[in-house]
Point group: C2
Chain length 221, copies 2
């Protein structure tokens, strides 16, 4: 049994949904996601180990507020990105704004937190949302677009995977400058040098007023 009361999915990528399989001990919780993401679970029968009688699924329309346990108000919103790798097909749209890739805003007691684990670019609408936030947790996958290729860790650029880079003129540090009271980078790939304390890239992140997330991090609003 786990103390988890609710799971909200922001997409159907493996790292977003595989953890559900370790929550299959018939402990009750609510499972929320867009209709697109929930249909991916339905199409993969392995997820039916989460019995509908103990883990009810609720389809959430982006843009419409909904209630989570504990008095939290939540809202999903579309973020430019792509379909999950195993569904993307031959020529995926890398900056589509669909139900397949969303962020979530959480509101309680007047505080606002925004969580965006994957973003291909920052739209004006999302920038406005971040401007109002107390904390934003944002896609920090790669520092440089060609980082995995340079490290011989893969053949893909960050943009090909649907992620804007952290550094550079079009990167996250520039795009999010001045937005939100507190900015934390998440979803960081193991090739990303911001994971190394004291590296030039880590210092650039800190100088720009961003934090690097770590395991067990606790955020108080």
């Amino acid at each position: 049994m786990s103390p988890i009361a609710a799971v909200v999915l922001t997409g159907g990528e493996v790292d977003q949904i595989a953890g559900l399989l370790t929550l299959r001990e018939r402990g009750p919780f609510g499972l929320y996601g867009t209709e697109g993401t929930l249909s991916t679970l339905t199409a993969n029968s392995i997820f039916s180990v989460l019995g509908a009688d103990v883990v009810p699924r609720r389809a959430i329309q982006p843009g419409a507020a909904f209630a989570l346990p504990g008095g939290i108000e939540a809202e999903l919103f579309r973020v430019p990105g792509k379909a999950p790798l195993y569904l993307e097909g031959d020529n995926p749209d890398l900056e589509a704004e669909t139900d397949a890739n969303v962020g979530i805003e959480l509101r309680a007691h007047g505080a606002r937190l925004v969580f965006i684990p994957g973003a291909a670019k920052l739209t004006p609408a999302i920038a406005s949302r971040l401007a109002e936030a107390d904390v934003v947790l944002f896609d920090g996958t790669l520092f440089s677009d060609d980082e995995m290729i340079a490290a011989r860790a893969g053949a893909k650029t960050g943009r090909r995977m649907g992620h804007m880079p952290v550094g550079g003129p079009d990167g996250t540090l520039a795009a999010l400058a001045g937005l939100a009271r507190r900015r934390i980078l998440i979803h960081i790939n193991n090739t990303n040098p911001i994971l190394i304390e004291g590296s030039p890239q880590r210092r650039a992140v800190e100088a720009a007023g961003f934090e690097v997330a770590e395991d067990g991090m606790r955020i108080e609003l």
Copy 2:
């Protein structure tokens, strides 16, 4: 990248296949299983993150020897059991001998190891196979058939889950007595008292000449 050169599936239960999702870093290895088990992977698109160009799948016929990397000869064989939980339907056959649940025998340099993580009962054919083995790793899910119900950890008996108990007149200790040079219990549920050193059930296991597997265990043949 992982040093794993081959993965052989003995069934399509979540604990047998979910680990594949953490091997999706485009490192090459061979994936072996019965046609029934591989078709379960095909039916769940999430497993296509293991690209066919780096992780070729090979359907194996039970009873036919096949070669694994490192000079190991292997053979799958049917074991009484049931279909994976998420595929079982309303009235599953709990002791079916189908391609959905198999054991594996590994042979190299004259040594034999048999691995059976789930067995509803021991057939004469499997007993003969174990008699010839140097080491057998065998289903030790529950000590008593009603153990999960007694511990209020679940509503199912072991037999309903397709597992024979370790103890009792029809249990594994009795059924495997005298078979194989070395007998090791695996796939042990967290309600099973054999995990507690010094418990009466653990002492019964040890007195019967069985070992209890542990993380990081290394077996030399």
